[in-house]
């Protein structure tokens, strides 16, 4: 199947998310879509999958012009998109989710679909139990389920938007193998990614977008240098580890036990010192999230002692943690961090001093303008946050950080950011550590942790299995600890 996009425009008022994009994909091709945050990648793919309607341009499938008014129409033509958070029905089982949208509901076809699901699953080396509820699956497994569902409804062009965020290294390898397998079978894959290494191993061709326009097409093997030139105005310079001289203890946990997530947190004993940058490594959901939530008062531990600056914080609310100088930035932006429906200015108003009866809208507006400029957010003071691109939502969250926090707890702070932004964010965060703020952050990227952390904690199954200084270890040793091989 051959899909061609010609002169695609998608305008939001005066914002040109896509501004005359051309793209073509052949059967058997894995096509990468690259570009900085807000370049228009997701928009283009949503247009192709019928999720949003284009302003202008033509889409042809096998030479026939098509018009997608809904995702359903696109999937009838064989085009399907895997969203970053697949909207599964959490209470239903894997099999039920697989059957959704396929069954007529007239007769009981469970056995038929079970027999369809199992071989498909093994074909791609996925490991899905048809009976387990979807709520118990990891993000990677939910992704696998959604891919199988899309394939079984006859998808020939599969679109993936940053599919490797939040999944483990093993799941990533499985995913890549599956995508290659699909390409061998003549299907096409469109892949949005911020990782050049991933594109390098996977893609036959890439298209680079910048500010809604195509800045380059390239065939494999890719010249990384040239790709970066096409993606960014300035080339990113990586941050380097600062030499920290840790001071007194700011956060201490002793024998903390907590539930939550897949694994909970078991018997956690830890000290974090002032000015220290601590990286939390481990497979997604091995306890890092619970740790950060307990440390910020977002959830209460079952037992154990949490102290901030020597003061016991047991039973205290997040607000009291905040008052003690603890700031938490969660990873799921639109679920936990931002309020959909409110614009950027309203978020700054929400962050402003809480004692006044009336909102100082002019102050909020100037704060919004200042931070938009400073954090280079592509959006306007009046843009609703859900209209920002993923990376720009992350920048906005980071722009809320107070002037002088004592302890920053960041969950995957650079997830979804392009390389240049990720480096920029770290250089910005390092200005905090220079002022003696401690940072504790989790990340799925071992490289990132090794690059900036002074000290690394490895989580496995809800426990901290390794606690080392960054200069005393290397990626191989850490990788083994992450897999639980101590």
């Amino acid at each position: 199947m051959r899909v061609e996009l010609e002169n695609i425009h998608k305008h939001y008022g005066s914002v040109r998310a896509n501004d005359g994009v051309d793209l073509s994909v052949q059967g058997g091709e894995i096509h990468g879509i690259l570009g900085e945050n807000g370049a228009g990648k997701s928009t283009l793919m949503k247009v192709l999958s019928g999720y949003i309607r284009k302003t202008a341009g033509t889409i042809t499938v096998d030479g026939r012009q098509v018009e997608f008014r809904s995702p359903g129409k696109a999937s009838e033509c064989g085009i399907g998109m895997l969203y970053q958070d697949p909207l599964d029905f959490l209470n239903l089982s894997v099999l039920d989710n697989f059957m959704l949208g396929q069954v007529s509901g007239l007769k009981n076809e469970r056995e038929y679909y079970r027999r369809k699901l199992l071989p498909l699953s093994t074909h791609f080396n996925f490991n899905l139990d048809p009976n387990s509820p979807v709520s118990r699956l990891t993000i990677g497994e939910r992704q696998q389920l959604e891919i199988l569902r899309l394939l079984s409804i006859g998808i020939k062009v599969l679109i993936l938007d940053e599919p490797t965020t939040g999944i483990s290294e093993i799941q990533k390898q499985t995913l890549f193998a599956a995508l290659k397998q699909l390409a061998r079978e003549g299907k096409s894959v469109l892949l949005i990614s911020h990782k050049l290494e991933d594109t390098q191993v996977l893609c036959n061709r890439v298209t680079v977008l910048r500010r809604g326009k195509v800045t380059g097409h390239m065939e494999a093997p890719f010249d990384t240098r040239q790709l970066l030139d096409q993606m960014f105005d300035q080339l990113p310079t990586p941050p380097s580890r600062l030499k920290a001289s840790p001071g007194d203890t700011i956060l201490s946990m002793s024998d903390v036990v907590s539930t939550g997530g897949r694994t909970g947190l078991q018997k956690c004993n830890i000290l974090v010192r002032k000015g220290e940058v601590v990286g939390l490594a481990g497979l997604e959901g091995s306890g890092q999230g619970v740790f950060l939530r307990v440390a910020s008062g977002m959830s209460r531990p079952k037992s154990g002692i949490v102290e901030v600056d020597g003061r016991s914080m047991i039973g205290k609310s997040h607000r009291e943690f905040k008052d003690a100088g603890v700031t938490f930035v969660p990873t799921s932006r639109l679920e936990e961090g931002l309020v959909p429906g409110l614009d950027i200015t309203e978020h700054f108003a929400l962050n402003a001093r809480k004692t006044r009866f009336f909102v100082r809208w002019s102050n909020a507006l100037s704060a919004a303008k200042e931070k938009i400029e400073m954090f280079r957010i592509s959006g306007r003071p009046r843009s609703p946050v859900q209209s920002l691109s993923g990376g720009n939502q992350q920048r906005l969250l980071l722009s809320f950080l107070p002037e002088a926090p004592r302890l920053l707890l960041l969950e995957n702070p650079t997830r979804g950011l392009d390389v240049e932004s990720a480096h920029w964010v770290w250089r910005h965060l390092q200005t905090y550590t220079a002022r003696n703020t401690s940072i504790v952050f989790s990340s799925a990227e071992l490289d990132e942790i090794v690059m900036v952390a002074d000290r690394i904690l490895v989580f496995f199954d809800g426990k901290i299995v390794k606690d080392v200084r960054a200069e005393d270890t290397d990626s191989r040793e850490l990788g083994r600890a992450i897999a639980g091989e101590i």
Binding site: Y12, G13, R319, E346, L350, F357, S387
Partner: protein
């Protein structure tokens, strides 16, 4: 688009609203025309009588305004609860409790030397009564996890029962207890009114004030911003140091307070006694008014006026056209259905093309 997502009206949004209102109106007219045709009434005549029956004379207009006042007050109150994402169905009972508390206060003032004091006090008492009643539903929701719709409905039944018990029990007229309510209060305890129209300017002033206060609160106060934020994403609001349940209770109290004042006006400004049907379904009707206004405070008074006209104008319709008297109810029902149909359609459309709906704002 969820309720909390409505921002202050810009030109583009106003245009959108006008378009949608026009659509609802068309659906309503088509639907009622159909109903009238089925009932064997000439539709054009019917519309003429509705117009004449509501705006045909000053007395009629004053009737319309008497309906408009409680609708607008309740509408203003409901804006707070809708903002935070609560369905305050209990508003009907909150009107009733306002009426009960007002009656109680006025009864205490029966032989007083300063009736005006008790009249004034009755408003405070009514706001308190409505507010407390709403607070109970709020606590059931925040502490007990009871859905506010069920809690509200239950509280409505209780309030209605309480009124009946009062009318037939402790507050019954000397000698006879009847559905026509308690003894009429002496004129000294009536809200001052323009005698030719039997309309009290204070009531109108209160409704206008309620709209203004609500507009200012929602647009400029921190409370208004917090209600909207919590309505949008209560989980994220914890991160901003807010406690969602506190604001839910606060919103309920605002709604209950305004509803209570509406109830008080029904007692001291319209009926001068407590009736079983003292709330006249104005609370339920106000829910529709607010939905049809697209949760926009500036639109609420106009839509409330429209509903008030229909309400008053259709009373005489059956008589004029020699039709069954249930027709007025049928027309109101048609109105309700049309409103719901359009808002459901709007919701569905918004969901499918969520991204598109943001375009206007992004400019």
């Amino acid at each position: 688009m969820t309720m909390a997502q409505i921002t202050s009206p810009g030109p583009a949004q106003l245009l959108k609203f006008v378009r949608e209102f026009g659509l609802t109106l068309t659906v309503v007219v088509l639907f009622t025309t159909l109903v009238l045709l089925i009932a064997g009434a000439p539709p054009l005549d019917a519309y003429f009588y509705i117009l004449k029956g509501s705006l045909g004379s000053w007395v009629k207009i004053s009737h319309v305004l008497k309906t408009w006042v409680p609708l607008t007050l309740c509408g203003a109150g409901l804006l707070y609860t809708f903002r935070i994402g609560l369905w305050n169905i209990g508003i009907e009972g909150q009107v009733m409790m306002g009426a009960v508390f007002a009656t109680l206060t006025l009864r205490l003032g029966l032989n007083s030397q300063w009736p005006m004091w008790f009249l004034g006090l009755s408003f405070a008492a009514a706001a308190l009564g409505g507010g407390l009643w709403a607070l109970i539903a709020g606590f059931l929701k925040t502490k007990g996890g009871v859905n506010e719709i069920f809690a509200g409905l239950g509280m409505n039944f209780v309030a209605q029962g309480l009124i009946l018990w009062l009318i037939f029990g402790p507050w019954k007229r000397p000698g006879v207890a009847s559905m026509s309510g308690t003894e009429i209060f002496p004129q000294s305890l009536w809200l001052p009114y323009i005698s030719s129209l039997r309309l009290s300017p204070a009531a109108i002033a209160l409704a206008v004030t309620a709209v203004l206060i609500t507009a200012v609160m929602l647009r400029y106060s921190r409370i208004g911003l917090c209600l909207k934020a919590i309505g949008g994403n209560s989980q994220a609001c914890v991160l901003y140091g807010l406690t969602p349940t506190h604001f839910m209770l606060l919103a309920m109290m605002f709604a209950g307070g305004f509803a209570g004042i509406a109830g008080c006006l029904q007692v001291s400004g319209v009926y001068h006694r407590l009736l079983p049907a003292i709330s006249s379904n104005y609370g339920y009707l106000a829910l529709l008014v607010v939905m049809l206004s697209n949760y926009n405070v500036w639109v609420v008074p106009f839509v409330a006026f429209f509903f008030a006209c229909l309400n008053v104008g259709s009373i005489q319709l059956p008589m004029m056209l020699q039709l069954d008297s249930s027709l007025a109810g049928v027309i109101q029902g048609a109105l309700v259905l049309a409103t719901l149909a359009v808002s459901a359609w709007r919701g569905r459309r918004a969901k499918i093309f969520e991204a598109q709906t943001q375009e206007a704002v992004a400019k």
